[in-house]
Symmetry: C2
DNA sequence: CGAAGATTTGAACCCCCTCAACTGAAGTGG
DNA sequence: CCACTTCAGTTGAGGGGGTTCAAATCTTCG
């Protein structure tokens, strides 16, 4: 598997920290080598829950699962690099994955993929190169559906085709929101709104992402994030380690001015 | 038509220049009032050419065109405001339209829509509020397809459903490229690459957009754009009015470092 | 424990924004 | 035809948000 992996240049991480491992490296390295296994029975019902698959015909879904591989990858492993042909539709079952883009030795996180979601569907369906790279953050279990099989089912199963529409529309929405935020807000405003979104109304919670990654996602340097966190203290935000406490939610909201059209993912 | 228009607050243009007209205003104003006309016969074959419709069944396409209205709008008119329910799928037949987003009295251009393309398809299909506002730049002829009809055909015509996938995937691709550019490039680099893209290999061409709008699209102020243009002179770029001359394409490319993964829309 | 990485803090600098004034082109109306 | 307005674009001065570089903790983990 992943035999299509070319030796494409490894992209420098955000503010360069040496090259990482590619999935290809891993398949050669006996520490990671796990023969690809056919999908495990316990993952199938999980997958079926995804809106992408929920509507499709049972026999098509079964045919698709039979083509699937599942593999557990170590942290910090490049699953795909932007520009490569899209060999597999990926489904993250467990762990965390980041989607990133790079240019001229710089790198930025465009999306953080939570467990049980698909990623890079667009490239698979269009049979086009990946738009973004993907890298594991944690040790992650990933289901791999060969793109050809996905496209074949897409052509025959009409409910699946409509599932793809729903999924793509959601991804589209997500990127538009990200672009809006980048163009209309300062970095402190982005941080404040990120905190509000993550809090989900709670006054205390844990960041589910390292600060360096958060900085990249919010398009600032780690230094600037650190300073922005301090700068939010007057608005009643206290962050120690991963622990976030919002002492004065009203104050924070008055500063952040969250907007349904940018911050509400359900819209 | 557009009777669903609420009196939603008019959003301030980029760096505030008084309120514009809404489509609702226009429909009340006798200067603009044109009874909505059923689609003109000459527009139908044009529309049929769009990849979105090209695959669908003839009878479904005809049914859809019978539901369509066409209207010519004056420049600077708000066709839709973000957050409103999506009543119509829009197709720009002639003229220019900008898609924008706003937050806290600021506004930014996210996409420039060229003639003969659809816009805000995602909201129509999802039956969700518009993600972006749309405003005419020039006097523009726009075909309006009631969202309900579009969704009905989407449910019944499988080829159309797949056309929607292709269209959405392309929109998605466009926003991802925009986000990449915003996060990875400086404003001068964005300008340089914009010029290269527009040039299409020619050494001389005309900007098809006002500088103020270009500035908003590239996420800079008009002042900064003006200075960035001067700053590109050493790289062999001369811009007088809308006329652009690239005297040293190689120099410009060496500076701009265009990337297939950001700048090549076909990918 | 020791090494490597993540986070913080400080200092200096630069890109880009803001504000203000000016220029030039395009109407408009007398 | 020409003042007058209006608006896009330009230029200058000053300031602020954010970056870069460097170094000091703090964590994590083998």
């Amino acid at each position: 598997m992943l035999e299509g992996e070319t030796g494409l240049c490894r992209l420098a991480p955000y503010r360069e920290t040496g090259p990482g491992l590619t999935a290809f490296d891993a398949s050669l390295d006996t520490r990671f080598a796990r023969k690809d296994t056919p999908m495990r029975a316990e993952d199938v019902p999980e997958m079926r829950k995804l809106p992408l698959f929920s509507g499709m015909q049972q026999d098509n879904f079964e045919a698709l699962s039979r083509c699937a591989y599942v593999q557990t990858f170590p942290p910090q492993l490049d699953l795909i690099s932007e520009g490569e042909p899209s060999d597999f539709l990926h489904i993250l079952v467990e762990g965390r994955v980041e989607l990133l883009a790079s240019w001229k030795r710089n790198e930025t996180i465009l999306t953080l993929v939570p467990p049980l979601s698909t990623f890079i569907l667009a490239a698979t369906i269009r049979d086009a190169p990946y738009l973004m790279s993907a890298r594991t953050i944690d040790r992650s279990r990933v289901v791999l559906l060969p793109s050809e099989d996905v496209r074949r089912v897409f052509e025959t199963d009409n409910a699946f085709a409509r599932g793809v529409v729903a999924e793509l529309a959601q991804c589209y929405h997500g990127v538009v929101r990200h672009a809006k935020e980048l163009k209309l807000r300062t970095s402190m405003e982005r941080l404040a709104n990120y905190i509000l979104r993550q809090s989900r109304g709670q006054t205390e919670f844990e960041l589910d992402i390292e600060k360096t990654r958060l900085a990249s996602y919010l398009n600032m340097t780690a230094e600037n994030l650190s300073r922005s966190i301090r700068a939010l203290q007057p608005y009643g935000v206290k962050i120690t380690g991963a622990n976030v406490t919002i002492e004065a939610p009203a104050e924070l909201k008055r500063f952040a001015k969250p907007s349904q059209l940018i911050d509400d993912s359900s819209n």
